[in-house]
Amino acid sequence: MHKLIITAFTAVLLAGGAAQAKEWTKIRIGVEGAYPPFSSMTEDGELQGFDIDIAHALCAQINAECTLVPQDWDGIIPALLARKYDAIIASMSITEERKKKVNFTNKYYQTPARFARRKGSGIEVSAADLKGRKVGVQRATIHDGFLTEVFGDEVEVVRYGSQDEAYLDAVSGRLDLLMADSVALMDGFLNTEQGGDWEFVGPPYTDVKYFGEGAGIAVRKRDNDLREQLNAAIDAIRANGVYRQINEKYFDFDIYGN
């Protein structure tokens, strides 16, 4: 009797699993909303940015109905695993540590990381000059990982929940340097009024060991069908010119990388 119940139960579960393996028509997408120009809030609380446009374009390509769910960066993977949404489109770099928990699509863009300093501060990126400097970085990002591993012994790493908070403290003078994605830094800070006093310093960093293979879309490991649909959609919008349109709306260079 027990066996029968268990078998029946398993059959129902499997059937449920099989039902999931169909085409996705409703997708909830986790986004960050505090990472301009990729993802930010307008003054009336609307989401905007490169990630947001890419999300809408992919959904249109798949013919799925999409809901965007803003989520703080810290909890963005746990919330995916807790099924608060089905995919993350939030400039998330494809790294080994993250792959232990989630699966990634192919990259949808790739940009190098850089340091920035206050103009006239004269700080150089060298072991001697970095000693004791306060460097602001967003917690749990590839940049945090890189900074902690490579420069952790020299600099004091100051970690923030969002890139916007790091910019606030950079302006108020609590930080000597920032470490972040070069495009996010450029358009989200250096080219804005508040970041006008800051400039890039040091080389661009792209080491795969720390920075992964570019930014991809994260899905739960069991949702391989969704991953494949998204991969096909990325290829499709790359081919049909939609990607290029979005690219040109935000950047004057090719953000897809090599």
Partner: protein, 230 residues
């Protein structure tokens, strides 16, 4: 469940624990030192003496600690006048901002606890002190304050525990306290349950020590209230 990440980061937790203990202990000492004069001034009869302490207590009890921390950390940093003042070396450090807001917050609550306890002093005790020829200052020192501290003890024990728990907010302004350590571990290994339950366990242990310490003090200070043993 994956506690390997926790064990691998135990030193981070212990560093965080030490920062939390430091912050809370310093805030409580400074807060208590401010609270006593605050309570005395607040219970003064003249309006021009008790107005400011009342306003201070009202403001700090009337707003969330989170708002106070944000105002001191991010808010003050907005003004160039503050950034160029002699205070900036202190205010630019997240640690001092947290300590200042914690100390002021607990001073307000503790001040109100002590003021309330003083107000409950039986009128007879004060009259008796006066009849014995004690000056007002001596009445405070020998009669009102000692019995007020005894009455305030259980409520103050609560305040100490609240302060400990409130100190988790330090993790939000870049300080790596116990909660900040848990957030870093979570963000590196994506194990929210294990990261935060570990922090919770450490908070429980500290609360246990506080409760035990207050039991101990109560036993001594309230010895005269116990029934005599036969």
């Amino acid at each position: 469940m994956d506690f390997a990440a926790i064990i691998g980061n135990l030193d981070l937790y212990l560093q965080g624990l030490w920062v939390t203990v430091q912050l809370v202990a310093l805030a409580l000492v400074i807060g208590l030192a401010l609270a006593v004069p605050l309570a005395l001034a607040a219970s003064a009869r003249r309006v021009w003496v008790n107005f400011l302490p009342h306003a201070f207590i009202y403001c700090f009890r009337g707003t969330p600690l989170l708002v106070q921390i944000y105002l001191i950390y991010y808010g003050l940093g907005q003004f160039a006048a503050v950034r160029e003042s002699f205070l900036w070396p202190v205010l630019s450090e997240a640690y001092w901002c947290a300590l200042i807001s914690f100390a002021l917050n607990t001073a307000a609550y503790t001040g109100e606890i002590i003021r309330g306890a003083m107000a409950q002093t039986p009128a007879g005790e004060i009259e008796a002190a006066r009849a014995c020829g004690m000056s007002p200052a001596m009445t405070y020192r020998r009669v009102i304050l000692p019995s007020a501290f005894r009455r305030a003890l259980p409520a103050y024990g609560n305040e100490v525990i609240f302060m400990l728990h409130g100190s988790a907010l330090a993790g939000i302004i870049t300080i790596v306290d116990l909660f900040g350590a848990a957030r870093i571990v979570n963000s590196r290994h994506f194990v929210p349950f294990e990261s935060y339950i570990t922090a919770g366990f450490f908070y429980l242990c500290m609360t246990f020590l506080i409760v035990w310490a207050f039991k101990f003090i109560e036993r001594h200070w309230h010895a005269h209230l116990k029934p005599l043993r036969g």
